[in-house]
């Protein structure tokens, strides 16, 4: 197994930390960090079984006599003997006299009950990188770098095109009108700022947030989490597809189709934007749209929003039409 050096990192004294990062960054040489090893052994981790249906020659019924033996075992009547013959080892076990006259190799087998496993040479090859690792070399590697080497794997946000949180990125694009991304980004920033400064929401037990959500009074200090929670909580699990003529006689059949994560979020955001479009503007100026969206997000967390009803309606319809699920699977 790969040895891991874990250095507990003392975090900033902030009440909220989404994750405690264990920094094992510069202790291990880069060449070793890059090497990925993954051992699958039958004991620890059985090979994954495929979920595909089995082929025509796989998983066939056992032989007739085997089946009869199993049935006899269950009923206690004793079915047919499956073994073709009795093995020599069993015969030898029963009588000590015959053991003496057995071949030497079989006598040795009886004496050595467990394998010794003591070879004069090693069969395992040590990793070259592991052999090279020691504390001095780790220190030497940091020389010549002003800020040290980056932690690997690189965080996903370090990529230019993925620098923002995935939810923020998606919602920003959904806010965009007429291709004006900059305006959408400004609106997004104002939404987050509104979430940051608005009073902490009160939770509604009738509309619980997704499991694992922190207490609601912790949310304003982490507006992105706030946004993510609100959207993921009202996101529907499925959509209803009307398959024309599937019910027979030209009647459309309602088929529930499961949605992926991005699709679920997209649906939720579109519902939120629909609800926002119906809201009356309270103030004036460029912050108004952002404030309306933020207020709707707060209303969702507080359980006041009509988006919850919309989600419930879709889910109810999906449950009613659950018998039609097979259609969805076939057509997909």
């Amino acid at each position: 197994m790969r040895s891991q050096i874990k250095v507990l990192h003392a975090g900033r004294t902030i009440a909220l930390r989404s994750k405690v990062s264990t920094v094992s960054a510069h202790q291990i040489p880069l060449s070793f960090r890059l090497q990925q090893r993954r051992n699958i052994t039958t004991d620890e981790k059985p090979l994954p079984e495929s979920e595909q249906p089995k082929g025509p020659n796989q998983d066939q019924l056992p032989h007739v006599s085997e089946e009869a033996a199993t049935a006899g075992k269950i009923t206690g009547e004793g079915g047919p003997e499956l073994d073709q013959s009795s093995p020599v080892q069993e015969v030898l076990k029963r009588s000590e006299k015959s053991q003496e006259k057995a071949p030497k190799i079989m006598q040795d087998e009886f004496k050595a009950s467990s394998p010794k496993g003591s070879r004069s040479y090693s069969t395992s090859t040590p990793l070259r990188a592991q052999a090279m690792i020691n504390s001095e070399s780790a220190e030497v590697q940091n020389q010549g770098h002003i800020f040290g080497l980056p932690e690997l794997p690189l965080p996903s946000t370090s990529h230019l095109k993925h620098r923002y949180d995935p939810v923020v990125h998606q919602v920003t694009n959904l806010l965009m009108q007429d291709g004006k991304l900059s305006k959408a980004q400004r609106n997004m920033a104002m939404i987050l700022e509104r979430l940051r400064t608005a009073a902490p929401p009160s939770s509604d037990p009738r509309h619980p947030l997704i499991p694992g959500a922190p207490p609601t009074n912790h949310l304003p200090l982490n507006p992105i989490l706030y946004l993510t929670l609100a959207i993921d909580s009202v996101a529907p699990l499925l959509r209803i597809r009307s398959q024309k003529g599937a019910a027979g006689g030209g009647v459309a059949l309602q088929i529930p189709i499961p949605l992926g994560l991005r699709q679920r979020r997209r649906t939720a955001v579109m519902w939120i934007l629909d609800a926002v479009a119906k809201k009356r503007t309270k103030g004036s100026g460029r912050t108004m749209f952002a404030h309306k969206v933020a207020d709707e997000l707060i209303a969702i967390v507080e359980g006041r929003s009509a988006v919850w009803d919309r989600r419930g309606g879709v889910h109810r319809l999906g449950v009613a039409a659950r018998a039609n699920l097979a259609f969805g699977n076939r057509r997909r």
């Binding site: 620098r163 997004m188 920033a189």
Partner: protein
């Protein structure tokens, strides 16, 4: 004449209601079954929800009764039926200044700025809180602006940067009487570099030192044509007063400067100057309040108040104006000959610019500060030229094709106006600011050398506004 067709058996021409030759058909054979005979769909499928029955008129499909053209009623879009905002409520919401965010963490060990602490050079790069009474005073003179980042933090605080400490030293020297000259200064710099905040910091320190502060928060308010105006009699060229604005300015002065309560009117003004009798020995605060209540006498009271403040043994003065370029061009007001009135013909602007130009020095010393704006600034080539020349920028020369305003150039002709460019923060100051943000809970990243360096570069060399945008307001 058409023959009647029996709808049940399709027999024709019979007068009998039903043919008797065949037994009547079973009704269920006449209707199409729900599932076609050859369909492959499973009978276990759930049926679609029943459609809501339409209005009975549309349902009837009787010949003749069917309407070929039915005017569809437009679907009414559901809108919020809540109460509409009152008149002025939207504007109030837009202009509202929020100085506190109860969600933000309270910064432990945040020191407040005071009159002794402000000249401490070791505080450079640290953030100091603004004490509560001073916040009220700053609010009264409208030193806080809407788009600044005050609503993100628990309470207002300010960064002690190099320019702040320089100004603190000057304020201290003037207060001690070491320096008895008026300092006249214009802040220039790129957008978001902290020009307006420099004015706010100057006002904070002046309040702490017991100065009298007169602030024009936006020069644009004076030229937009939003407040009433009228000519001042016996002036050539005609000067115009803005009595409502002056009254509100007097109100701000009396509320923001509690020191005026301790200062008394030295002598009652002559009746020719003020139309109302002024009781002797009233405090200057009451005097300002008189003018604030009655716009008719606001300008004479303002003049009287200013004259009183420039008497010997009065505290030093701090005069501020933001958005200087607006005060350097034609206004939206028109004269009686339908000509646009120049901003310099308005008494308040004229009064301020006479101090900025050095034409009327402050007898008790003080500071005259003005700030330009990069985000809300009309093009005034004369001002650009004058400021560039004063800054020592030889590259900016007079454009032979542009028209220059002699009045604007005249303000800076006398010299002595310092043009101070507000640049970026150094990395140490940037780090202090970012640590304050982190301790407020606004920044969630670890503030280390790499992070500070990255953001400092991203903000164009420590431009404060850009730094805030990159660290606090970015969608990360």
């Amino acid at each position: 004449m058409s023959l009647q067709t029996c709808w049940r058996c399709l027999a024709r021409g019979s007068n009998q209601p039903h043919p008797t030759r065949w037994p009547p058909q079973q009704p269920w054979n006449l209707y199409p079954s729900l599932t076609a005979a050859f369909t492959t769909s499973s009978s276990l499928s759930a049926l679609p929800p029943k459609k809501k029955s339409k209005s009975p008129m549309l349902e009837t499909n009787v010949k003749g009764a069917k309407k070929t053209f039915v005017k569809k009623t437009k679907k009414r879009q559901k809108t919020d039926s809540s109460k509409r905002p009152e008149v002025g409520e939207r504007r109030a919401l837009r202009k509202r200044i929020v100085l506190s965010n109860t969600n933000a963490l309270e910064v432990e060990g945040l020191k407040d700025i005071n009159a002794q602490l402000m000249i401490d050079e070791s505080l450079r790069g640290q953030v100091l809180g603004i004490p509560g009474p001073v916040v009220d005073q700053l609010r009264a003179v409208e030193a806080f602006k809407v788009k600044q980042g005050w609503p993100l933090f628990r309470r207002p605080a300010m960064l002690m940067r190099k320019d702040t400490l320089d100004m603190a030293t000057e304020i201290e020297n003037i207060s001690l009487g070491i320096r008895d000259k008026t300092i006249r200064r214009v802040f220039v710099g790129e957008r978001g570099s902290g020009k307006t905040t420099m004015l706010l910091q100057a006002m904070t320190m002046a309040f702490l030192k017991g100065w009298v502060v007169i602030n024009v928060p936006e020069a644009q308010d004076l030229i937009l044509g939003h407040t009433e105006y009228g000519p001042l009699p016996s002036t050539n060229p005609t000067l115009y007063t803005q009595r409502t604005y002056t009254a509100s300015l007097l109100n701000a002065i009396s509320r923001a400067n509690p020191i005026l309560q301790d200062l008394q009117l030295s002598q009652p003004p002559p009746r020719t100057e003020l139309p109302i009798p002024v009781p002797p020995n009233i405090s200057l605060s009451q005097l300002a309040h008189l003018g604030a209540q009655d716009p008719e006498i606001a300008w004479p009271i303002f003049e009287l108040l200013y004259r009183e403040l420039t008497l010997p043994d009065r505290p030093p003065l701090l005069l501020c104006m933001d958005g200087l370029a607006h005060a350097m061009r034609n206004t939206h007001y028109i004269s009686n000959t339908y000509q646009p009135i120049h901003a310099h013909q308005f008494t308040l602007i004229n009064w301020f610019l006479s101090h900025l130009s050095g034409e009327s020095p402050l007898p008790n010393a003080g500071l005259v500060l003005a700030a330009t704006s990069e985000s809300n600034s009309p093009p005034v080539p004369s001002l650009t030229l004058a400021l560039a020349q004063l800054e020592g920028n030889a590259a900016v020369q007079k454009n032979p094709f542009a028209t220059y305003d002699a009045r604007v150039l005249g303000v800076f002709e006398q010299g002595g106006v310092q043009v101070r460019r507000v640049g970026g923060l150094c990395k140490q100051e940037a780090r202090g600011l970012m640590e304050y943000w982190a301790r407020s809970g606004v920044v969630r990243q670890r503030v280390d050398e790499g992070f500070v360096g990255e953001k400092w570069s991203l903000s164009g060399g420590g431009c404060v506004g850009e730094l805030e945008r990159a660290v606090v307001r970015m969608r990360v």
